[in-house]
Amino acid sequence: MDSNIALTMRGICMTFPGVKALDNVDFTLKKGEIRALMGENGAGKSTLIKCLTGVNKFEAGEIHVDGIEGPIINKDTMDAQKKGISTVYQEVNLCPNLSVAENLYIGREPLTKIGTVNRRKMNQMAAQLMKDLDLDIDVTQNLEEYSLALQQMIAIARAVDMESKVLILDEPTSSLDDNEVEKLFGMMRRLRDQGVGIIFVTHFLEQVYAVCDGITVLRNGTLVGEYSVEELPRVKLVAAMMGKDFDDLASIKPEGINDFSKVPLEIEAKGLSHPGTIKPFDLDIHKGEVVGLTGLLGSGRSELARVIYGADKAHTGTLKVDGKEVKIKAPIDAMNLGMGLLPDDRKAEGIIGDMSVRENIVLAMQAKQGMFKKIPMAKQIEIADKFIDMLQIKTASRETLIKQLSGGNQQKVILARWLATEPDFLILDEPTRGIDIGTKTEIQKLVIKLAEEGKSVIFISSEIEEMLRTCNRMAVLRDGMKVGEIGMEEMTQEGVMHAIAGGDHHE
């Protein structure tokens, strides 16, 4: 093996029941290289990585790692770890009710002389590691005390800390804000300069060009090609991933209404608040209007929406829906008023993992009908098939367990769950996170279509670009407070950035 190469995979094949997930895929990673692994949802990125780390057993192919004679097959992630391959998965896979330090050293705790866990040493080491990575974290706190973003950083820190030749990051940035992403990139560059090969899976194209040296593109389980960043500019990358020419994404904005002042209100919130998460705010949403909530991660975007929906109970204020004052005590009350909420934490609050795609799709509808009025099976099948087709959900069958789908497809199922209830007002919290570019556009188009049908939408996204494309108006949040609104005319990348960052105007 070339001494310059950290890892090669040759002719990898892998089949899931009903899906050829990988078909003869090659992959090469040089030492001191950051290589983006790109592809739409379900292209096989996670599967390829899991073959490498021993989570999946591949049927054919060979893997070679620098410094080890002959082809290797990893039994499990621990085994891969021993051979110098560390991984951080798409979804945080740590234990929420253990301390940060315990999570960092789980399975390799420093021991005392008598063989018990040396907590003091472990906490010291963990604190040092956090300091090295410039993270402000109390390592004795339980992991769940920290935001999803910080949990992700901790997962990465854990992987980084173990002597690795190959570091795999499977969509680590989907829950990080710009600042944290920059920190992560700093970490990645430092490791690259030490000669570590890094595989980076992301859905943010700009990140590829910010940090990567090479790009490998997969489509439908096959290799499209291995490129350097210079030879594959953005448009060509998208084309390679989608297998078709890049249709201009910017052109989906409707010509529709721009002046909503004469349109009746769907939602009228006055002084709603929830202690500890969001201070009292007012928000009006007209029928057929898409309102974006923007602000840094943790600024209270999700929390504002959750109070309206009753996911967090409002402690002060009043809410009018369709002109009538209402009391919402729990999500079901909101649902009966025609609302729906697609939560940002898909794993914790979205999917019912052990249920099938069909069951997940009809779930909210069934909840609205009540315990004793079962939706007839024929109807369930009809609804499930309709949405699988409409949203192009990639699944072996409608009876496949949702946890077996890739993240983006899970997201589509949750979206289908809400569309099936035919809501008048839909809250979409990061609906496109972890979703490939093609589907992203589909979801944006869908939001605009819903608005055209007179439905109101709250749209929350970390990507300003996509908010600009879909929203009629934006509300800006900072530190748990709604600090202003941005109308159509000010809605430019720059204007929004200014509003988020704060300053004189928009206050």
Binding site: K57, A311, A330, P331, I332, M335, L341, P343, A348, E349, G350, I351, I352, G353, D354, M355, E359, L363, A364, Q366, A367, K368, Q369, G370, M371, F372, K373, K374, I375, R417
Partner: protein, 358 residues
């Protein structure tokens, strides 16, 4: 080969497999004793002293004696699924409901009656109602106060039996009225408990089939937070499951009391919670909650009874029987554990690989 593999993956594999194993032990035992090999399955008729024709045989005996556990297993399955915990108070609650029933029928402080103080139906309904109240109490602690199920139900596990004893003035209350014995004896040629259990199972199965109760319970059990966002009232659903579990304990308690036509509060339902939990586990249901399979639990319940009956047939004394049951439990738990499953998986993968190499 692949057919066998897919079979072992089915949830009902474990309970049915255990059931068959127990029956096989019986067949071997019978052959060894020189009995006809299928005498376990033999059902004979007998005429009682009162002139009725009844069925009897070991199989009937298993179905009869297993009724209480089968009824308990219904409620326990729901509780395990929704709350990822077990209700360990069911045995005590059985005793409590039987105690109240007999106390009302006999009058407080009376230990031996041959006619009712209040109509029979009042006693039965009161006993069952009290059990439902106990279930609601448990459910409230678990669902609304977020107390761990084991701890929450520990309260009635110890207090339930004691209250029953108080109600009966610390004595065994005999109700020597033939109609009181009906639920625990024969209805026509079949033991009544079999019919009671069958009725409970049938009603539950119909409810699960024709309503969305199963979806509600399982959604909450699999992911409580997601279920809430999708419009389910998790706390209410958990409370209902515990209430149903109480209801089942009440019915089982009345049957058990009727069998001995007396409220022996110290012994009714003793250790029965363990059998009920075991039935759920044996049914291939995860004690971690989520998806459940009622049929599995029911087969599990009768399998446990079959084990007990077999042990008695093998002349194991009732004091020693728990030891053998424990061995069975260990086996089941070990077979179901992840490392063992992974080991068997690897074994079959190796075999397949070896085959390919050839």
């Amino acid at each position: 080969m692949s057919k066998i593999k897919s079979l072992t993956k089915k949830q009902l594999f474990l309970p049915i497999f255990s059931m068959i194993l127990v029956m096989l032990v019986n067949v071997i035992y019978d052959i060894a004793c020189g009995n006809p090999p299928l005498s376990f399955f033999q059902i004979a008729t007998q005429t009682t002293t009162s002139g009725n024709t009844i069925l009897f045989g070991r199989l009937i005996d298993v179905l009869n004696r297993g009724s209480e556990v089968a009824i308990l297993a219904i409620g326990m399955t729901l509780v395990v699924s929704a709350s990822a915990g077990t209700d360990i108070s069911v045995g005590s609650v059985m005793s409590l409901s039987g105690g109240l029933c007999c106390m009302l029928l006999a009058g407080y402080g009376v230990t031996n009656v041959s006619e009712y103080k209040v109509p029979l139906i009042v006693g039965i309904l009161a006993g069952i109602a009290l059990a439902v109240v106990c279930g609601i109490f448990n459910g409230f602690l678990v669902a609304y106060l977020n107390i761990q199920p084991m701890v929450a139900t520990l309260i009635l596990w110890s207090a339930g039996r004691a209250i029953g004893l108080l109600l009966c003035n610390s004595a065994i209350v005999y109700v020597r009225v033939p109609s009181f014995q009906f639920l625990g004896s024969y209805c026509g040629f079949l033991p009544t408990p079999i019919l009671v259990a069958a009725l409970c199972i049938l009603i539950t199965a119909l409810v699960l089939k024709f309503t969305a109760v199963g979806t509600f319970v399982q959604a909450v059990g699999i992911n409580k937070k997601a279920a809430r966002i999708s419009g389910f009232n998790s706390s209410k659903i958990i409370l209902i499951c515990y209430a149903v579990c109480g209801l089942c304990a009440g019915i089982a308690g009345i049957v058990a009391t009727s069998r001995i036509y007396s409220a022996d509060t110290n012994n009714i339902g003793l250790n029965m919670e363990l059998d009920a939990i075991l039935a759920v586990a044996l049914g291939g249901n995860s004690l971690g909650g989520g998806k459940f399979n009622l049929a599995g639990s029911i087969i599990g319940a009768y399998t446990i009874q079959a084990i007990t009956t077999t042990l008695y047939a093998l002349k194991v004394s009732s004091a020693q029987a728990p030891v053998y049951k424990a061995i069975v439990v260990i086996l089941i738990v070990v077979i179901q554990s992840e490392p063992v499953k992974a080991y068997f998986k690897k074994l079959s993968a190796k075999k397949a690989a070896a085959k390919e190499a050839n």
